[in-house]
């Protein structure tokens, strides 16, 4: 037992280090991940310890990162790709959608593509365009991929290891504005608190279910605390797995509360909340006291950073969503 207070970023580093220690086939590839340790320093120190063949600084080409990783996977490696920012994953989109997602099916199961594509995502860091996007819906809509998002240090530590161990390709979203958040957990524990594709009820409640993933989870918890002071009991669920969707956990909660508010930074139109709304409405048609309320990004390109506060779902907008759900 080693209780330590670790940042989310460092938890990812440690998780990858453990995976690399355990399995010599785990290799990392991405831009600036070597000496620099990545622009967010998530791979800091790993090249020094594991060498340039296991922590590979790639040429500046994302299709190349993912495409060569597919080849390494075919050779028996377990590549972990780093995409520098959310907005720079699109040059690799073809490789992800047509190759990474489909190769296992194409081979009728004869080959596995056990790779992880790490993507720091979300806004709130005051950056110019392409640095604050939330592209998760593109991947969750793509059959053949698994898509997860961590929200806190302990999950980051475990989820990255589980993703690397998964025999399917995993798109791994990291909430970049939470990289420096710290939490205490047992860094020596030998088994994960839960499976990679399970949701987590972060805070139980009875009046309304509040669901989200990644960077908004912290805000949701704060909102629940604020609401409690005003007498509303909110159940907060950290979705964690966007695909497959841990729908049973959600449905079970909604059956209890009768109300669901879903939060994300991505544009609302065809965002995760739409799918969750559709499924929950199908499964809980008679239990829902209100339609599923979506608190999400506007349907515009991510705005200039001085306006991002007006774009991002903050505590007030979340509580406004809760109020709207309760108003029915």
């Amino acid at each position: 037992m080693a209780l330590e207070k670790v940042t989310l970023g460092k938890s990812l580093t440690n998780g990858m280090r453990k995976a690399m220690d355990r399995d010599p086939k785990v290799v990392l590839i991405g831009e600036d991940i070597g000496k620099l340790g990545g622009v967010f320093r998530i791979t800091e120190g790993l090249q020094k310890d594991f060498g340039e063949e296991r922590v590979i600084d790639s040429p500046l080409a994302e299709s190349g990162i993912v495409g060569t990783a597919v080849g390494m996977a075919l050779r028996g490696y377990r590549p972990v790709c780093e995409i520098q920012f959310d907005g720079f994953v699109y040059p690799a989109f073809d490789q992800i959608v047509c190759q990474v997602a489909k190769l296992h099916a194409r081979a009728l199961g004869a080959v596995k593509i056990p790779m992880v594509i790490r993507i720091p995502f979300g806004g709130g860091i005051g950056s110019p365009e392409h640095h604050s996007e939330s592209p998760e819906a593109y991947f969750a809509h793509t059959a053949g991929l698994r898509v997860v998002a961590c929200s806190n240090p302990e999950d980051a530590h475990w989820m990255i290891q589980q993703a690397i161990e998964c025999d399917d390709p995993v798109i791994f979203f990291e909430p970049k504005r939470r990289y420096h958040d710290r939490a205490e957990y047992d860094t020596d524990a030998t088994s994960a608190p839960r499976g990679l594709f399970e949701a987590n009820i972060v805070r139980p409640g009875t009046d309304v279910t509040l669901l989200g993933y990644g960077p908004v989870v912290k805000t949701m918890v704060e909102a629940a605390a604020a609401a409690e002071a005003e007498g509303t009991s909110i159940e907060v669920i950290d979705l964690r797995s966007l695909s497959p969707l841990p729908i049973d956990t959600i449905v079970e909660s909604v059956r209890r509360t009768g109300r669901l508010v879903v939060v994300h930074e991505a544009s609302s139109f065809l965002g995760m909340a739409s799918e969750i709304s559709a499924q929950v409405t199908e499964r809980c048609f008679y239990e829902l006291e209100a339609p599923v309320i979506r608190v999400a990004g506007a349907n515009i390109p991510y705005p200039p950073s001085r306006m991002e506060e007006d774009f991002l779902p903050d505590l007030d907008r979340i509580l406004d969503g809760v109020d709207r759900a309760l108003a029915y």
Partner: protein, 384 residues
């Protein structure tokens, strides 16, 4: 489009390029053996029997191709991309490989697959529509067909990087040193992925040989739409060697490929080979080449037939007689009949298997959808 290209297109009798002085040739279109200071050594050990087996391969894959075409016409295949005219490029390069080398094909490399030992039925699955590939690439070190133009060049490069990470390059141990070969077309050379593959392969000294079959056409677009200069010269923009070989000359293709694979295995990769050849048929059975190319061009290329020239050579040198040629034709007949039989009887899998191999690990959505599908199907049976 450049004026030059426009002018070329409008010529009634096209100037059919002959590959130019840089093109490596060991066997002329007339079947004459010409010597080459650098490449003779790679064919020096080939016995008459070897050459006869090359010939057999060429004939068998041409028959395979004809059968694929016929099966499509008869509705047994949805589509067939013909390799007609490219037999020497495929056999020459394929035979140069060692079993532990690894191949990344496009959708047209039926001939390479054949010489790798693949069951020819395998490549029919995709075109019959019973699977999207369906074979195990590790069985013959022959990857699945890649349809998205150029995507496989990055896979080949990554695989080769893996080979190097495994320490299987430049050890001097012939059973260990491994090369990767990646096929792509002249049209593909324009894709970003192919050029990124060149960047990565050069940056990591990957043991990969890029094998471009320049069959002069990308569907309806002539190669001059993709490049101003011979394609083998693309490599020099990325700092690695490129060579043009007569792709209708099985000996030269064999020699050049063997050389390049050796180089790659020794740690001098990557390399680019441009096999200068011609797509004698349509792009696929869905295509109508009369819309965009004149028959005079095709006629001229008939004089460069890859099989005829080897046959002439073998006959002239007394390495094969009529009995042999007849025997190969008979073998081809049997081979074709078997292929046809195998194709027609190939089973379509039940609808519910659609969900079986999307994920390697358990996936609740796959299970739920499969169950729903079966229940739905059953509801019809109940209804009847």
């Amino acid at each position: 489009m450049s004026d030059k290209v426009v002018a070329e297109l409008h010529q009634p009798t096209p100037e059919v390029g002959d590959g130019g002085p840089d093109m490596i040739q060991l066997l002329t279109p007339e079947g004459q053996r010409v010597s080459h200071p650098d490449y003779d050594q790679y064919v020096a050990d080939l016995t008459a029997e070897d050459l006869r087996s090359f010939y057999r391969d060429l004939v068998l894959i041409r028959r395979l191709d004809a059968e694929g075409y016929a099966l499509q016409r008869q509705g047994e295949l949805g589509l067939w991309p013909s390799l007609l005219g490219q037999e020497a490029a495929q056999v020459g390069s394929g035979r140069a490989l060692k079993p532990h080398d690894f191949v990344f094909p496009t959708y047209r490399e039926h001939g390479v697959g054949f010489v790798r030992g693949m069951d020819p039925q395998s490549s029919l699955q995709l075109f019959r529509g019973v699977s999207q590939g369906g074979w195990d690439p590790t069985e013959h070190n022959f990857h699945l067909y890649t349809i998205v133009i150029g995507a496989q060049t990055l896979h080949a490069t990554g695989y080769a990087m893996g080979v190097k990470m495994d320490g299987n390059v430049g050890t001097g141990d012939p059973d260990r040193d491994t090369a990767v070969i990646c096929y792509f077309g002249d049209g593909a050379s324009s894709q970003g992925d192919v050029n990124e593959a060149f960047v990565y392969a050069a940056s990591f000294d990957a043991p990969v040989v890029f094998f471009c079959q320049n069959n002069q056409w990308a569907i309806s677009e002539p190669v001059t739409k993709q490049t101003r200069i011979p394609l083998f010269q693309r490599a020099r923009g990325f700092g690695f060697p490129g060579v043009r070989v007569d792709g209708n000359d099985v000996l030269a293709t064999y020699a050049v490929t063997k050389h390049c694979l050796d180089e790659a295995r020794n740690g001098n990769g990557p390399l680019l080979i441009e096999a200068y050849t011609y797509r004698m048929g349509a792009h696929t059975t869905a295509d109508d080449p009369t819309k965009y190319r004149v028959s005079a061009e095709v006629e001229q290329w008939k004089f460069r037939d890859p099989i005829l020239r080897l046959k002439t050579y073998l006959a002239h040198e007394g390495m094969a007689d009529d009995a042999f040629f007849t025997q190969v034709d008979e073998e081809a007949d049997g081979f074709a009949a078997e292929l046809r039989e195998g194709c027609i009887t190939m089973e379509t899998m039940a609808g519910e298997t659609m969900w079986d191999h999307v994920y390697a690990e358990d996936h609740p959505v796959m299970e739920a959808e499969r169950a729903a599908f079966l229940a739905y199907k059953a509801s019809f049976e109940e209804a009847n």
